[in-house]
Amino acid sequence: MSLTTNDVNKIAHLARLGIDSQDTESYAKDLSGILDLMTQMSELNTDKVEPMAHPMDQAQRLRHDNITEKNNRDKFMSIAPQTEDGLFLVPKVIE
């Protein structure tokens, strides 16, 4: 299985990941190499196997809906790139 530079650009867009245009070719080559490695998986019939998502097959633990943390808003805001009046600032989304 091999990927084209066009495929790489599509995947990068899905991931909202900027990649330099001069690197697209090398990503296509690297990813194709990795996908070749993956094709080994198809040698094995796994029709009746249950997929394993968690090593202990554990279900998500639930907890009571209690407040356990104090309000750290100022602390979290202080490490943000851009804030105003306790809000995170981003470029204008709706005109």
Partner: protein
């Protein structure tokens, strides 16, 4: 002082032979002296000296724990309150964590002294510590070789004695592989044994923190502090923590060791095979029975891992969006530009490669062929281990295909780099505990022996490792110039 075991250091502190402040100064001086190894990203001198003063007071009032006053260095993946937590990435070069990881809290409560934060592959993605934004870490046994990864700084800090012990994290071998390549002891606990809260996530169903030390005896003390149920981590397992030091001296008579024929095939490097045979022979002398076992699905561990880990990585790393913390690009024109450029600038090449791979494997039309298929193979590999561990007590094998390779040697071919994880990643897929212990040298470079046990049998694994370290002295070797 830096040549002492943790038990000896603890005894010396309690006995008043030296103070924690003196011990801390000794390590801080060594860190300065050996900066060229690039093991540390941040040295927290002020915090260390304050921790040491507090520890000396606590020791004087006879309230010391075994690790009180002993200097530790933390992998820079653990969030440390108000201290830079970079995860080896430009993305987090400006990130001062707003809270402590549970593991860090535990070390603070026991009165450990934090020397600083250790270099690592970017977001723990790498097998050589060469993907770090802060540059490659050098192996003290030969500075032209890699230390392994991703916990390369952690392994070097212990091997070169720039910390009494360190922490690492292991998603596909990132504790065991650098431990093997640097000649130290590294334990990856059972998935869920050590809290992942505040440990920056790479692949959440595989990540696990653990100790990196000179010996199994040291590792038992460190794991004692790290392990335990944490309500803040929803995958933490609520089981009591046993006394990891209590059974270290248990004799190994009748121990059943399984050697998977898939690990010892003709593909195994001949020198490595010879060294491992010597180590196994040592166990035979200690009274163990050796048995060949077979785990036919092991060979598919690499492809399955390199689907699952990147898939989880692509989901986990979507949080780095330039909005709430971390790197943001200059003058974004719109929201998509803000996301795309911030991520494009902040992540390095290997991280991008894995995000792309994971995004692809999870995308419509490929999800079943890659992600679901890999999870099914994960089940088969896990079943192989479960079945084998009903026949034998532990499984032994190599940690790495070869000793440490040269810096730059494998950076151009990601597949070749991934293949260096061949003996470690299956254990993460199954969620089992495993240790790497020093087992000799090939051309003056250290190699490791891997001991894999059943779920939550860390005490047994440590006992088995400790007994070997009572009859061999590979773990006591120090690289030239660092003794």
């Amino acid at each position: 002082m830096y040549n002492k075991s943790l038990k000896e250091l603890s005894h010396g502190l309690k006995n008043g032979d030296f103070s924690s402040v003196e011990l801390t100064h000794e390590y801080l001086n060594r860190i300065k002296q050996h900066q060229d190894l690039n093991a540390y990203i941040t040295v927290t001198e002020e915090i260390a000296l304050q921790n040491a003063k507090d520890a000396d007071i606590r020791i004087a009032s006879k309230k010391a724990d075994p690790l009180t006053g002993i200097p530790v260095a933390q992998k820079d993946i653990f969030c440390t309150l108000d201290v830079k937590t970079s995860c080896g990435s430009m993305m987090l070069d400006n990130f001062y964590a707003p809270y402590n990881a549970t593991v860090i809290e535990k070390f603070n409560q026991t009165g450990a002294v934090m020397l600083g934060k250790l270099n690592m592959d970017e977001f723990a993605m790498g097998s050589s510590n060469e993907t770090s934004f802060y540059g490659a870490v050098k192996n003290p046994w030969n500075i032209n070789r890699v230390p392994g990864g991703s916990s390369g700084g952690s392994a070097v800090a212990v091997a070169a004695k720039l910390a009494a012990y360190s922490t690492g994290t292991d998603t596909g071998g990132s504790i065991r592989q650098p431990a093997a390549l640097c000649g130290i002891t590294g334990l990856k606990p059972t998935y869920g044994r050590v809290s992942r809260f505040g440990m920056i996530a790479y692949a959440s169903s595989l990540d696990q923190g653990g100790p990196m030390t000179h010996s199994a005896e040291d590792a038992a003390l460190v794991l004692q502090t790290m392990a335990g149920f944490d309500p803040k981590d929803s995958t933490s397992v609520d089981l009591p923590v046993p006394d990891y030091s209590a059974n270290l001296n248990h004799p190994l008579t009748g121990l059943k060791i399984g050697l998977p024929k898939e690990f010892f095939s003709d593909d195994l490097n001949i020198d490595m095979a010879k060294k491992l045979a010597e180590a196994i022979e040592e166990y035979r002398k200690l009274g163990a029975e050796i048995k060949e076992v077979s785990m036919p699905n092991l060979k598919l561990a690499i492809p399955a891992y390199y689907v699952i880990a990147p898939a989880e990585c692509s989901a986990n790393l979507s949080r780095f969006d330039g909005v709430r913390f971390g790197h943001r690009c200059n003058n974004p024109v719109d929201l998509t530009d803000l996301y795309t450029r911030s991520r494009g600038e902040g992540f390095g090449k290997e991280v991008k490669r894995r995000i792309l791979m994971g995004t692809y494997a999870l995308s419509t039309g490929y999800y079943d062929a890659y992600y679901v298929k890999a999870q099914k193979i994960r089940r088969l590999i896990s079943d192989d281990f479960k079945k084998t561990l009903t026949e034998v007590d532990v499984i032994m094998g190599p940690v790495t295909p070869t000793p440490a390779f040269g810096i730059g040697e494998k950076m151009s071919d990601p597949v070749e780099m991934y293949l260096s994880d061949i003996y470690t990643i299956a254990i993460n897929l199954a969620g089992l505990p495993a240790i790497s212990i020093p087992a000799g040298f090939i051309n003056e470079m250290p190699i490791g022996l891997q001991i894999i046990g059943n779920y939550f049998t860390e005490a047994k694994i440590l006992n088995i490792a400790h007994q070997y370290q009572q009859t061999t002295d590979w773990h006591k070797q120090t690289p030239k110039g660092f003794a």
